[in-house]
Symmetry: C2
Subunit: 197 residues, 2 copies
DNA sequence: ACTCAAACGGACCGCCCGGTCAACTTGCTA
DNA sequence: TAGCAAGTTGACCGGGCGGTCCGTTTGAGT
């Protein structure tokens, strides 16, 4: 979580919390939503009870991990709003999003819906930043005019999912599919699209 | 299953088997791999024990459902090999694939790996048909030359996954993303791609 | 050094899952 | 219509899950 606790954590508790978040991130990356709390605790080297002392629910723990990622992406998106080349900035953002997601399939965003208010807030901040990035790229003529921020949000998740079907994929295979998808966003040779959501 | 049983099924057994496959397809579509055998049985109006009489394992039941879908796609792909416009044929195939998958997220193809030999065979038949479809579209100049059959196989799954993030998506939103992705396959404005798998 | 709230850990609980089984029912055949 | 194999059923089992609880340990203030 990003909220500052009223009283600072005890030294060992802070250490454990950090190890727990790291272990949870790795374990969720490896096994998706099916990762068990017991396995996460074992990987972090702490007892299962300690997990629930830090996060009252498995969903809360998941939300904390996700918020971390989303927060980082939001920061990057806001940074890139001042980059010189708007088209390159959007591509760089989508590359970063795909690259980080490689560790953590974002499909729980669908399942972990409004489980946690802080998560909802962080996510909508990310969404507005991405929309601004997209508008800027459209104004520069780098992508076709019928693309929305939501399109980018949805499509930036695709490369990792696509690659997850390949058993022994090289670690940067996702770049190939991001390349294809981003080419589909370009104005050249674009066909009219069905209505947006 | 497509294999003909040595002795024909009794009338009630055949009825139950049909209802079971239908229920399983619907339940897997609704809840993914987490659909429980008990729920499937209830939806089919039969006892849980009967499920395991027809399919010795939950994975076997899943495989039977998947084989059904894959088989239909393979037939379509082979049909489209003689269509007049190779580019339109490929697009039509990808549309059919996305449209049918809407009922059944294909992500279990990754998880249900080599669980069932018949599934593996059916799947590789589909793969060769798709590759032929792609080669034909490339020769006609309808898609860029650096696309492989595997690319199409992977990308045709993407629109549904992408749309699944949208809570109340209109039922044909996937067409929008298939449109973008297919535009990314076209020769116009294509950028060089990282190496294939 | 003493104290005690804070933090820890793992046995434990209830639940639900996939899969089994033996008693029961039913459709085919003669 | 009688007999029997084929089919059905739901109670039941072992196991793993998320979450609880309380006896124990530990770090920080004095």
């Amino acid at each position: 979580m990003t909220v500052t606790p009223e009283r600072p954590l005890r030294a060992d508790a802070a250490r454990n919390r950090y190890a727990l978040l790291k272990a949870a991130s790795e374990e969720f990356a490896a096994h998706g939503l099916d990762a068990s709390v017991a396995d996460i605790a074992r990987r972090a080297g702490i007892g299962k009870g300690t997990v629930f002392r830090h996060f009252s629910t498995k969903d809360d723990l998941l939300a904390a991990v996700v918020i971390d990622r989303i927060d980082g992406l939001g920061l990057l998106a806001r940074d890139l709003l001042t980059a010189p080349d708007p088209g390159a900035a959007l591509l760089e953002f989508m590359e970063a999003a795909a690259g980080r997601q490689r560790q953590l399939d974002l499909s729980f965003l669908r399942d972990a819906h409004s489980v946690n208010d802080l998560l909802d807030d962080t996510r909508s901040e990310l969404f507005t930043a991405i929309t601004a990035l997209v508008e800027r790229a459209k104004d520069a003529g780098a992508i076709r005019p019928d693309i929305t921020g939501m399109d980018v949000i949805l499509l930036m998740c695709a490369p990792n999912h696509v690659v997850s079907f390949v058993p022994d994929a090289p670690p940067d295979l996702w770049r190939r599919y991001l390349g294809i998808i981003f080419d589909g966003l370009r104005p050249e040779g674009a066909r009219p699209l069905p209505a947006a959501s």
